[in-house]
Amino acid sequence: MAHINDVGGLHGFGPIEREEDEPPFHADWEARVFALHLALLRAEVYNMDEFRYAIERMDPGAYLAASYYERWLNAIETLLEEKGTLSDQEPPQPRPASAPSGDG
């Protein structure tokens, strides 16, 4: 590894904090990131190893300060940009809601 995530054996991080009855997501946006990741994997936009590598390539300071799903989102944005799926020239626009189907 040898990237910032490779912290095994380092002192100073303290004990693992266990949360009682921890919910799967602490906020709605985390669940959306989770779903987005699964959708992109399924669509083969990237694979799991590319995803992990994108997390490892984060700026070290940003990596350590980020939460788990913030890292996921960071990796997704990095990969979408690198693969040309998303560019800085195209800020996300809200899409109009689709018409309901089968109303004829």
Binding site: M1, G8, G9, N47, D49, E50, R52, Y53
Partner: protein
């Protein structure tokens, strides 16, 4: 087509020393360290290649390698602790003969 399995259960192995700038699943704290193969998971695509977008990465055996605590941490290790790491075949080399008694 998978690469041949170079190691079997019970064999002593040493983790190759390397520092690739790319993605790898070898944590730093086991580089150059020796352990024993406890189990063979099966064959899986090498993440080092897959992470770079290789659509046809090498497929290698993945082993559970167990390291003694003192092997990794010296006197700061705990005698009851063992550390198990899943490692791909190409991460490993045979342990040197002179340490075969460890």
């Amino acid at each position: 087509m998978a690469e041949p399995r170079r190691f079997g259960v019970g064999e002593r192995v040493r983790v190759k020393v390397a520092n690739p700038p790319w993605h790898t699943r070898v944590p730093r704290y086991i580089r150059g360290r020796q352990g024993s193969v406890e189990r063979v998971h099966g064959e899986f695509p090498l993440p080092d290649a897959s992470a770079l977008g290789d659509a046809d990465p090498p497929v290698e055996a993945v082993y559970v390698v167990v390291f003694r605590s003192d092997e990794l941490w010296g006197p700061d290790g705990h005698p009851n602790d063992r550390i198990s790491v899943d490692l791909w075949d190409s991460y490993l080399e045979p342990a040197p003969r002179e340490d075969a008694s460890r």
